[in-house]
Amino acid sequence: MNKTKKKTEKIIFESEKDVPLVPMSLGSMLYNKTGAWRNIRPVIDTSNCLQCGICWKFCPDVAILIENEFPVVDYVYCKGCGICAEECPSKCIAMVEEEK
């Protein structure tokens, strides 16, 4: 999926001198994989997709990627909020119950 996959090791600073002044890019989301929070998952039927990009724009967690001009869900991070399904103008995103 991700063309540029980042390493997922935790960033550990040996000294406060290595910690950035501004709290930024501490790499926490590389290992904090929020997809496990999901109860329902978006499933995209690309045959009706208009390629409008609205799901990509509205996803609050940047969990919709555009690949080969179509949206793809990043299930590693998607929390299953359903905003993409709600906003999709052609209703081609279904929210499907997660099974254990």
């Binding site: 406060e16 501004v22 709290p23 890019s25």
Partner: protein, 384 residues
């Protein structure tokens, strides 16, 4: 150029001369004229800044934080209920190391609904990680805005420039407006070490686990501890360029004083008048006006207090269930330092009740008749 301006407009002039680039503010009595003049400055292009209208103080601070993160010099102003609505965002600004400068007009907290001055609004933001400057004249307000930007941007810590409602905000005084080119020489453009930019994307303020958070806070305190020296240095530089020194405290006739008042804000000037009157009556009084409350000027307070026989702290505020807030701070600064100076705590002037030279005289009479403080709060002027 000299102008007769109100305290609120001194804030606006300070922000204009500092060339603030983004201003987001919501009007509230007694702060409104700050924003009015700034919006006019922006509309007339006297100030080349983006003026963002917002629906609340919470949003105002959020806009300032984002603008500051993007590298803009950012200013706002508020008061009382507005300041406390910002409370969460105050932590975001300091924790995110965004050097926003904000004017706050000290106004008593509701209820009962009040527009008059006391210090509980800003002092209840004591632990948010903002520097706090309590001003005593309109000139000091204008000058301090410019200095606050310099210190804030050097440390990446936000600053509050504070003045009393009406006693300063709506009082007109003669103010020397510095030349723009000299202010530009004193305060170069804001150039933050990191900024929000598409060319170098970062996630800011994201989830921060126990392995990182502690060091971020350690660094904030370490940088806060650098502020006293920086305030002194930038205050002396200001004096060299503009003829007015901007320090952490102002000590008035403290050198040989037996009784030193500790005061702040406009009461800090009233204290000087009272000191002169008391000296005519044979009382060797002095007045220590605390201008910078955060970081607390420990070294200055200890040095000046060391020569006194008694210290009387005049608080226009209260920490309910404790004492006056400056009183707590002065005692904590002197504790364990073996000065042995008795410190008396007085609460007066809440909700805008006048603090006059007579208030100080009454405090002096009380302190001079006691060897040791026998109560932690002495109320002055309350109808008991």
């Amino acid at each position: 150029m000299k102008k007769v301006i109100m305290g609120n407009h001194a804030l606006s002039w300070g922000a204009t001369l500092a060339r603030a680039q983004v201003i987001a503010a919501y009007p509230i009595t007694p702060q409104t004229q700050v924003v009015e003049l700034l919006s006019e400055m922006c509309a007339s292009k006297k100030l080349d800044a983006k003026f963002i209208k917002v629906e609340s103080e919470h949003s105002a601070m959020a806009a300032c934080i984002a603008a500051s993160l993007a590298g803009a010099r950012t200013f706002t102003a508020t008061s009382a209920q507005g300041l406390t609505l910002m409370h969460e965002l105050l932590h975001w600004a300091s924790g995110g190391r965004m050097p926003v400068v904000m004017g706050n007009i000290n106004r008593a907290m509701a209820p009962g609904w009040s527009i008059w001055t006391d210090q509980n609004d800003s002092l209840s933001q004591r632990d948010t990680g903002w520097m706090q400057f309590y001003c005593a004249s309109n000139q000091e307000v204008l000058d301090t805005v410019i200095q606050a930007f310099k210190v804030s941007e050097a440390l990446m810590i936000p600053s509050m420039v504070i003045l009393d409602a009406f006693a300063l905000s709506h009082t007109y005084e003669v103010v020397e407006i510095p030349d723009q080119d000299k202010v530009d020489a004193y305060l170069p453009p804001f150039n933050p070490p990191v900024r929000l930019t598409p060319s170098d994307p970062h996630a800011f303020g994201g989830l921060t686990g126990p392995e990182h958070y502690f060091e971020l806070r350690y660094k904030l305190q370490i940088d806060m501890e650098k502020a006293p020296a920086l305030i002194e240095e930038s205050g002396r530089e200001y004096e060299r360029m503009f003829g007015r020194y901007l320090g952490e405290v102002e000590d008035y006739r403290c050198d040989d004083a037996e009784l030193i008042f500790v005061s702040s804000g406009t009461a800090g000037y009233t204290g000087r008048v009272a000191v002169d009157a008391l000296r005519q009556e044979g009382v060797r009084a002095g007045n220590l006006r605390i201008k910078v409350f955060r970081p607390f000027p420990f070294e200055r307070v200890r040095r000046i207090a060391a020569g006194a026989k008694k210290i009387a702290v005049v608080d226009r505020n209260i920490s309910y269930g404790h004492h006056g807030i400056f009183y707590q701070e002065v005692k904590s600064a002197l504790y364990g330092k073996d000065h042995g100076v008795p410190v008396f705590g007085y609460i007066t002037g809440l909700g805008g009740r006048d603090v006059t030279p007579d208030t100080f005289k009454e405090i002096a009479r009380h302190a001079l008749t006691k060897d040791e403080p026998d109560e932690e709060i002495v109320w002055i002027g309350v109808k008991k």
